[in-house]
Point group: D2
């Protein structure tokens, strides 16, 4: 028997009332394709969370908050499992919308969008968001912006912290209370950004695009080890991975949950091996990509990791 063949695929036999981690362990023994990768992601993420020397980065891209994944992220912050969060303006906009009491709704992707437009409903695949949510959002956020000190210059993370301080739940709220920085390099590219443009028509507070870099880079230089948990690609993935490029080290742990594909060349679908060539992750880094929808892979992965850590 060839030496490469030492660990056999075990056919899965399901039992009654399996816990999520029991199922993931069985998927790991089967060990093939993305089911096998998901089991390996649980192993790596569990090890990364146990490694007290590791600074934990979390990237959140894709429309995850409208899909109910925001609760998982808040809870990870609360549990001390995220040291640095990088997200998109869209996720933070929807986080605020939920935090001020508005709701996203179950809808369908097979609909007439012109009729939805007439009914004042905005669609995100099969999630519906009524326009009135944006009215409440505008009211809230303009009031928050007005508290900023006229003539001052702030960073994007400081602006987000200020918003978080004014909320009672959600990601920004939890990050504020746990003193976790939230970076959002493309804040302009969101409803928060459009509202800030409105605010800036009559107010002068400068948001310095690069003001967050020194603190982030300090964090990277002082980290003994670094780990990256990446939900989706986009700006959060690249911003996290590039942050270690200037240091002598790279990420020692990396897990990526993405629905993209590598052969299109875009960073969102790029393998983590590709990141080794750049030195973004170390040569020996434990790394795995799970291809699939994060609305499935994220809850399964985190539920399994939580279960392991309770033992």
């Amino acid at each position: 028997m060839a030496k490469q063949c030492d660990e056999a695929v075990t056919q899965i036999h399901l039992k009654q009332k399996m816990t999520v981690n029991e199922l993931v362990v069985a998927m790991g023994k089967a060990g093939a394709y993305n089911g096998g990768s998901l089991a390996r992601a649980v192993d790596i993420y569990d090890q990364m969370l146990r490694d007290t020397e590791t600074t934990k980065f979390f990237g959140l891209a894709g429309a995850m908050v409208p899909a109910g994944m925001g609760g998982i992220v808040s809870d990870l912050i609360k549990g001390g499992h995220i040291d640095v969060l990088v997200s998109t303006g869209a996720n933070l906009t929807h986080d605020i919308i939920e935090a001020i009491g508005c709701k996203h709704f179950h809808g369908t992707a097979f609909c007439n969008d012109v009729e939805l437009r007439h009914d004042e409903i905005n669609r995100i695949y099969d999630v519906y968001l009524p326009n009135e949510a944006f009215e409440h959002f505008e009211e809230f956020i303009q009031k928050v912006f007005e508290e900023l000190e006229p003539g001052s210059t702030i960073s994007i993370s400081a602006l987000l912290k200020h918003i978080g301080k004014n909320l009672k739940s959600g990601i920004l709220h939890t990050a504020y209370h746990n003193n976790i920085p939230v970076y959002c390099p493309a804040l302009q590219d969101s409803m928060i950004g459009l509202q800030y443009w409105l605010f800036s028509q009559t107010n002068k507070v400068t948001v310095d695009a690069f003001a967050d870099m020194p603190a982030l880079m300090d964090r990277c230089f002082t980290a003994k080890k670094a780990g990256a948990m990446l939900v989706g690609g986009g700006v959060p993935k690249n911003f996290i991975l590039q942050s270690m490029l200037m240091t002598p080290n790279g990420f020692s742990y990396a897990v990526q949950l993405t629905g993209d594909r590598p052969d299109l060349g875009g960073l969102s679908g790029a393998t983590l091996d590709e990141a080794r060539s750049w030195g973004k992750i170390t040569e020996e880094a434990q790394a795995v990509t799970v291809y699939g929808d994060a609305t499935i892979t994220l809850p399964v992965m985190v539920a399994a990791v939580l279960e392991r850590r309770s033992l």
Copy 2:
């Protein structure tokens, strides 16, 4: 609030030691994208299995047995949850390989395939299968073929039944012992087929390509209701869906787990709504497609359904 907005997205908050079904219920309350679809697939599949008037078809495409999913299928047969199985020659070949004691192994997709060739290892993405498995396979299957009555004509399902009778575990074995027909329209397109060609060089047993149709069509005509659980697309999906076309009815339940996409036009990625236009599924059929890797979605779905049925 617009009338379409009545069921809100619930942010997921994971707990310690959740069972798979508890997680799926939470994913259903979030309700978005493929996580929401997976929760709906569990609802529909559970209902289909409870409906005693429903004839249950199961389509198995993709390299699922090498990935350890064969155990789930065997157990579903054993549990009485499959009335008609349609699969590919490849899955049945690998089922036989496992049943005669050979193994598939955990490998990697990032390898040198020419070196694997020299090491006599066949690769299926990240699963390795040593050549010697095919030697044992040849020995077994030729012996089984030699028991066929010279000069006779048989159907593909009869040939598969005969193979199953000679095995001690796996899908074909379990189907044989539970008297479940296994259809495999493209049997020639597999190692079983190549071995049969070898056998037919010196033996004369005719495999009638259409001999399975009458029994299948009778089944379709007499079914009060029909349900289809489709893992992957390919021949199994189409063969199952088309089977009701000649009857006045269509499928009342349909669940599809696929990694393909609809916009390429191929049947494997086609939506189940498309199937409504053909009358393959009924206008009112409960149907859902979950896009993603079945090595994740199949175990999660079946584990959740089993859990519900134990209550």
Copy 3:
């Protein structure tokens, strides 16, 4: 400069009235991702067609005839560029439908399938096919079946040849007139198959599932070299690739146009490198996969190859 870096990416500058091959050459000089792969596919396919020692296999999967790609395949047969054709029952069904004067129509994927059902229109993504086409199809094919000799046994390719003889255009017609065998291992899985079941209710002509194997295997054993042009995956891809497995050789040329992805483990999306581990293609084979919709990549590739061969 590292040794691996010897051929630079050339930025594309488009000119007025470029021919398809001129564009493909520019895409080859850019040379990245699937654009680069498509240019390489043209190089390999061109070389394969020029190589007079090579037996040329063509695999046609996916709903390509309803999408207007059947004309390209017929013309390739006419031009002497296909020696062995393997396709699906669906493509051949739609080929017959077009050949008897029925039409597919431009539709939309964003529609109400229940309404389509009421309007007696069958949908294939954004292609519409009225039910009446199947009425004409039934009338034609039953008449053709009735010409078969009662009590005889025939192969699938002989049945398809008989159909082709009765048509005046299309793939089956052209294959018949050019004496090119058409293999379709899963013929039962199609409207042709359902009609044959109807026919067999009152007639007795046995279709021997394995009767095509000896001629195909002879072809494989006597081929000096073999080349595979694969549109889509499914049965055609595997049936072609496995056909050389029993011979001491493999395919020397292989081009695959697919929209699938490798990480799901299914053969349709598997890389051609994976096929090297099995010996389906030779260690030195020139092979490339172009990921994308074949309704784009097939016409571009064939138009460029035609242009090169006219020089």
Copy 4:
């Protein structure tokens, strides 16, 4: 015949030496799946470019410059076909690298990334970029940054304009000379951003994240009509589409070339119909998405449009 069935699919018959537009016209007559969508994209983009009342936005995401697509974008600017360009920091970084005389190289995705790391080569799927390019990049860009007025505050587009003024070819150079604004909301998320952080260690020039919004919004408010050509998704797609949200109008033309898929919920793969529900594009907008690799679809589309405009 049902009223929905009025335009028949025309089988494609290729001719010798077809021009790209002739091929696209044939693909439009076939009219199915993404081939049909690509033909429609050419129609819409051609009409958008002819419409002199339309302000033309161009979004460039994905690693398009390393793949040789930057030349097409430069030429479109030169030809007067882009009024507003939104791109990613990565594309602009690689544009600078090419403009200062460094090169990207043809590589392979099937390689050992740790060895590449040792050979100081950075990989982007199958494109290689030697580390030394980044050394030249650093030297160039730091010198350019040093020309900025100490103590001043600038916008991102002004910074990019300043860079473009110092280049002799490429996108930024051409945009500068044609007075076309280049927006890049997430500039920090790129090598330009990392270099700017280095620069800012010892220099004080504030980059105001929101300083570009007023001019962009003015442009949107004064546009009689607006058109969006979107290559890839990411920040460019959303930033362009959201820009019209604050005005009473939306985009009248929209073409999207993407390899993503809608069912994951992310904006990159979202249909343009979804954008109608938000009012980002008008109810009557002509809009089409072509799914596939833009290294194929972009050159084909632009070559066909150029050819039409020369007539």
